[in-house]
């Protein structure tokens, strides 16, 4: 295919790109037909793509496309993917164009991809969204987060009222929607104001999951069981990210309120309600898991929630609680309530996740938080495997290890026994402390 370069050179940028796409299509079709393994595009073709579509300057002074030409190119690509009826061909073509190669062309690749996906969302091009969903599964999370950022900017920040367009992706391509949620929950970790999800996005996600809790599990349900996921890719479900949102929200939004100051922020009770609903939805999703895991024969063998990320969340929370106490010298009832809510949610999430087999850990694990948590960790352990088959059996893993270091956080609980302030908690055993390296760098 490398030999067509000569015929492309004299053309103007747009028709050259168009011609290349045309040849690429034929080339991949032939490849699929011949059954060559692995079906991979050779490096010469990749070079052509970088030269004539991504316009990465090689030796020559490659002319850049005008904005209008770029728009035309996007349109051509859109219809190209739309018209290709074979999934395999389409997917190979998408990979050839947008799989990151670790070279300088990747920046333009990301730029073009972002624009293409944004456009596909706008005009409802399902095949492109499906390809993008696969891309989001295979690509390093840093880049996934960048794509998500573009979409959020395009649809939630830049043009007010364009949210409904984005909202429709859950029906257009549930797979893409699921990956998108995973990406945005990875992006917004509530560590700063910038990393707090926009209200519109939050509402959207809550309504998606309320409508169909299984949406969250789509990628998981559709992907093969083997560890085919690249290690640095996004989580297979957004559950971890969603839990983090719900648990940190009471404290993060409190801080938020304090900064924006004065009751003008009427979004706050709204957010509280949304996070409460989201938290419930997440627990309900967990409750779906035992059956699914059993069907796949994975119950107790596959952790949808990673121990490390949970541990990180726990230590995050611990730090936040510390800060909250330090900042308000006399702990107000508000602080107490927010802290208690965060802890309650953590405990609930951990308990339900463990019971549903999403989180694999033994009861002896030392955590440092809360009263329900104490109950959770010391209580009768059960894998909530099949509630409808009495009598319910307790898991043989059940261990009743004492948790000596866990004082209650709020005084109202009957479980309270140790009045020690949590500031004296011992250090977290799982201080992975891994900071998130993927903040959108500006």
């Amino acid at each position: 295919m490398g030999d067509i370069r000569q015929s492309l050179l004299p053309r103007d940028v747009l028709s050259a790109a168009k011609e290349l796409l045309y040849h690429l299509d034929i080339y991949i079709c032939n490849m699929v037909q011949s059954g060559r393994q692995p079906p991979q595009v050779d490096s010469k073709t990749l070079d052509l793509i970088e030269e004539f579509i991504l316009h990465t300057p090689k030796d020559r002074n490659a002319p850049r496309m005008s904005a209008l030409q770029e728009l035309q190119l996007l349109e051509i690509m859109c219809s190209c993917f739309q018209e290709q009826s074979r999934d395999t061909v389409r997917q190979l073509m998408f990979s050839a164009l947008f799989n990151l190669q670790g070279n300088q062309a990747d920046e333009s690749r990301m730029a073009l991809l972002s624009k293409l996906v944004s456009m596909a969302v706008a005009v409802g091009r399902v095949p492109i969204l499906e390809c993008a969903a696969t891309w989001l599964q295979r690509t390093h999370r840093v880049y996934c987060v960048r794509l998500a950022q573009v979409l959020v900017d395009d649809y939630c920040s830049m043009v007010p009222g364009s949210g409904p367009t984005l909202h429709n992706i859950h029906s257009a391509s549930p797979r893409f929607c699921c990956q998108f949620i995973t990406a945005v929950t990875t992006l917004y970790d509530l560590t700063s104001d910038e990393l707090t999800p926009p209200m519109e996005l939050l509402q959207m996600i809550v309504s998606w999951i309320q409508d169909d809790p299984r949406l969250v599990l789509i990628t998981f349900l559709n992907s093969p069981l083997s560890g085919s996921q690249p290690i640095s890719s996004l989580d297979v479900t957004p559950l971890g990210g969603l839990i983090r949102w719900c648990i940190k929200a009471p404290l993060a939004y409190r801080r938020d309120k304090k900064q924006t100051n004065n009751g003008s922020s009427d979004g706050e009770p709204d957010a509280a309600r949304l996070f409460s609903a989201l938290h419930l939805s997440v627990l309900q999703v967990f409750m779906l898991l035992p059956n699914i895991l059993n069907e796949k024969g994975l119950f107790g063998r596959l952790a949808l929630l990673q121990m490390e990320s949970v541990a990180a969340l726990a230590s995050d929370l611990s730090r936040l609680l510390d800060q909250a106490d330090k900042h308000t010298h006399a702990a107000t009832s508000d602080t107490h309530a927010a802290s208690q809510l965060a802890l309650d949610r953590l405990a609930q999430a951990l308990q339900v996740a463990m019971a549903s087999g999403a989180l694999l850990c033994s009861r002896g694990t030392r955590w440092s938080l809360g009263n329900l948590l104490q109950l959770v960790l010391s209580g009768p352990v059960m894998y909530y495997n099949n509630i409808h088959t009495p009598p319910l059996t307790y898991s043989p893993h059940a261990a009743h290890s004492p948790i000596p270091t866990l004082p209650p956080h709020a005084p109202h609980t009957p479980l309270a026994a140790h009045p020690a302030p949590h500031a004296q908690y011992p250090a977290q055993p799982f201080m992975t402390g891994m900071p998130f390296p993927f903040r959108p760098g500006h």
């Binding site: 309600r273 419930l280 609930q348 339900v352 959770v376 059960m382 479980l415």
Partner: protein, 737 residues
């Protein structure tokens, strides 16, 4: 910390949150359930939250979980009984609808189990049956196991609860709900005898339902708004009918006869009845069994029995249905929901439209019709052996009816004919008759007043008058205890006299004129004398049309004051007519005839002239009531003429004790009439003056009496005749043998 305390804490926490943040409350409960999956209160709390929010799907799911995991919790059962109660009720309120929808979300297997267990916990037979019925309706496969048992339980309940009427809640459930499920379930093998038992149970119910009388409730209503009740087609109060133990809505049975036919169709198919291609109508059914009947004598044993029961069941159902249709037209007030008051009751009586025709003609007809009747001394003998003749002559008898007064006359007569046909069929073989009698005995049909009415009419139609009289006698005694409702129109008392009128008619037909007159005079004495001449135009019309018919026909007489009194007068006339015109002299009868002929004048002109002829032949005539009851100007004129030399100087003794009447000229008469009375000397015109010959030495008192009668010409004739019946009752009766 005990697990129990922990559970309580968790539930308490959820309860605190539920109003402010239901999501948080649910999150707590979900967590709690994973901690303590065997704790009932946690799950119940979850259910309550969803139920109170009326979220059907999730509440249903939780109820399902509780039902599976906590089958022994009383609270679960209380909840289930609330739901099943909603299923049984026809309430349309929002909560009941929610509960029904909730039940619908459950898997069929669970619904089935739930209903079964709920049934087990039920102690009231009716509720239990209703519950089981819900099960059977939803799960046809359960019919095999429970259908027949449920049916038998209901039938037993009738007995054990001492229910009198076949129209009761148990039977209703059995017939309308259980039976169709059972007989339509092809997976069940049902013995023919059982199906026959069931079909008879069903028929008894439907017939009882259709022929139910107006409830006392409705009667109360009727008396309260008697004025509005006469508006046609409206029967407000009478529509309300509740079977004890059922709601008003479920007491309603739509299209009972059609439902019964459906059952007959299915049972017929399952019993492999002969020639049965699905019953299209009751008439088809009758035709089919009529054909079947022809083969009956040639059959034996099992086959014969099977044929017999098919014929008897089908013919009996056609009989009762047709008889009901007939009686509901003839005596609508007996039934609830039949267009009461749209058309009054009707009485089947002898047709007397030829009463004014010549005696000879009558006699000829009678002779022809009843060959065995002997005429001795011109007096008709009573017919003693009507039974053997009855059948034969009953066949072709016509029933006349005023078509404008009875718009549905053809259906009514058709029903009567069909009913009679069925009856005859049922009595065409001993075997059939015996079977039919068993059914009648089981249903106690002898206590059905409406059926007795039909039977009486049928017997009359057959010409078995002797039987008819005793049947009517029975009926009158059944009717007697009913409270005689006094309404301003006298309608109720007229209906009460219905049987008496028919008895009179029968006695007349039997030639028992004295008895006939006794009965009809009883009727007349119960009538309120009319205060004005009643209109009788439609009656005249039909009579003229049917004038060619001679005797022997029957007529449906409207049971109204306007029709009953004229009929009684005609019947009396008929009783006296033959007697009056015999060769031997009977002035009293002849006098009665003259009085009665005034009615409907000049219909009876020919007979009157015949009477005058007879008087002329006799040369004298004695009838002391003449001036009391004869006010007809033509008659008065004729009698005045008879005394004249031209008239033949007939010796007339018309005054009580020869002149105890008026001795003095009546000043009230006025100059003009006196002149009229006196001027006839010169004129020979016999048609326009009453007074001819008076001047020629006629007794003054006769003249005066005549004068007085002329002044009475304007009197209400029916009042006069009514008075005649009342005052002369004894003499009238005595003048008959």
């Amino acid at each position: 910390m005990s697990a129990q305390k922990d559970c309580e804490f968790l539930v308490k926490r959820a309860r605190e949150l539920v109003s402010d943040d239901p999501c948080a409350a649910k999150a707590w409960l979900i967590t709690a359930r994973t901690l303590y999956p065997t704790d009932f209160n946690i799950q119940y709390e979850m259910y309550i939250i969803e139920r109170n929010a009326e979220r059907t799907a999730s509440a249903g799911r939780l109820l399902y979980d509780m039902f599976i995991n906590f089958p022994d919790q009383p609270i679960v059962w209380r909840e289930i009984s609330v739901i099943t109660a909603a299923l049984r009720s026809d309430s349309q309120d929002k909560h009941a609808q929610f509960l029904r929808a909730l039940f619908e979300t459950l898997p069929g297997r669970v619904q089935c189990e739930m209903l079964l267990k709920a049934t087990e916990q039920c102690f009231n037979t009716l509720e239990k049956a209703e519950m089981l019925l819900l099960l059977l309706k939803r799960f046809p496969e359960s019919v095999v196991q429970h259908g027949v048992n449920l049916g038998e339980t209901l039938l037993e309940a009738e007995v054990s609860e001492n229910v009198e009427s076949p129209v009761n809640c148990f039977r209703k459930l059995f017939v309308c709900d259980v039976l169709p499920l059972v007989i339509n379930n092809m997976d069940m093998r049902l013995p023919a005898s059982l199906m026959q038992k069931y079909i008879l149970k069903a028929a008894e119910f439907y017939i009882g339902y259709v022929t139910r009388g107006p409830s006392s409730d409705a009667q109360l209503q009727a008396s309260q708004d008697g004025a509005t009740l006469k508006s046609p087609g409206v029967s407000r109060g009478s529509q309300r009918f509740v079977i004890d133990g059922l709601s008003e809505k479920s007491s309603v049975v739509a299209e009972p006869w059609e439902r019964l036919l459906d059952i007959v169709t299915v049972v017929g198919a399952r019993c492999e009845w002969q020639g049965d291609k699905g019953q299209r109508s009751y008439i088809d059914m009758l035709q089919r069994v009529k054909e079947l009947c022809r083969y009956l004598p040639g059959l034996e044993g099992e086959t014969r029995l099977r044929y017999c029961s098919q014929v008897v069941i089908c013919a009996a159902l056609v009989l009762f249905r047709s008889a009901f249709l007939y009686v509901s037209a003839v005596q609508p007030s007996l039934f609830q929901g039949v267009g009461a008051m749209t058309s009054g009751p009707w009485i089947l009586v002898e047709d007397l439209s030829s009463v004014y025709s010549d005696v000879e003609g009558d006699r000829a007809t009678l002779k022809h019709a009843h060959k065995k009747r002997k005429l001795a001394d011109g007096r008709e003998k009573t017919m003693s052996s009507d039974d053997e003749e009855g059948l034969g002559k009953g066949r072709g008898r016509h029933i006349l009816v005023n078509k404008t007064e009875m718009p549905n006359w053809s259906e009514t007569l058709e029903s009567f004919r069909t009913a009679r046909e069925s009856w005859d069929l049922l009595h065409s073989h001993d075997g059939l008759e015996a079977e039919f009698k068993k059914i009648c005995a089981a249903w106690k049909t002898e206590s059905w007043l409406w059926f007795r009415i039909f039977l009486s009419d049928m017997i009359i139609h057959q010409g078995h008058y002797r039987k008819a009289v005793s049947s009517l006698h029975q009926m009158a005694s059944v009717q007697q205890p009913q409270p005689a409702q006094q309404s301003p129109t006298g309608q109720a008392s007229l209906e009460h006299h219905r049987a008496l009128i028919q008895q009179a008619s029968c006695h007349y037909a039997l030639g028992e004129y004295r008895m006939a007159c006794e009965k009809l005079l009883d009727v007349v004495s119960g009538l309120v004398p009319p205060n004005q001449e009643l209109t009788k135009a439609p009656e005249d019309l039909s009579r003229i049309k049917s004038k060619t018919r001679k005797g022997n026909d029957l007529r449906l007489l409207p049971c109204t004051r306007g029709a009953v009194l004229p009929f009684c007068l005609q019947l009396m006339l008929a009783c006296f007519k033959l007697r009056a015109f015999t060769d031997s002299r009977d002035d009293l009868s002849l006098g009665h005839v003259v009085v009665l002929l005034q009615h409907d004048w000049p219909q009876g002109e020919m007979l009157f002239l015949k009477a005058v002829d007879k008087i002329c032949q006799q040369g004298s005539f004695q009838y002391e009531n003449f001036f009391n009851y004869v006010t007809n100007i033509d008659m008065l004129e004729e009698f005045a003429y008879l005394r004249t030399p031209e008239g033949g100087r007939i010796q007339l003794e018309l005054l009580p004790n020869q002149g105890m009447l008026i001795k003095n000229p009546s000043p009230a008469l006025g100059v003009e009439l006196n002149t009229l009375l006196l001027q006839g000397v010169q004129t020979m015109d016999r048609h326009h003056t009453v007074t001819r010959g008076i001047t020629k030495g006629v007794k003054e008192d006769f003249r005066l009496a005549m004068e007085r009668q002329v002044s009475r010409c304007g009197e209400n004739l029916l009042s006069v005749l009514h008075r005649f019946c009342i005052n002369e009752k004894i003499i009238i009766i005595q003048s008959l043998p």
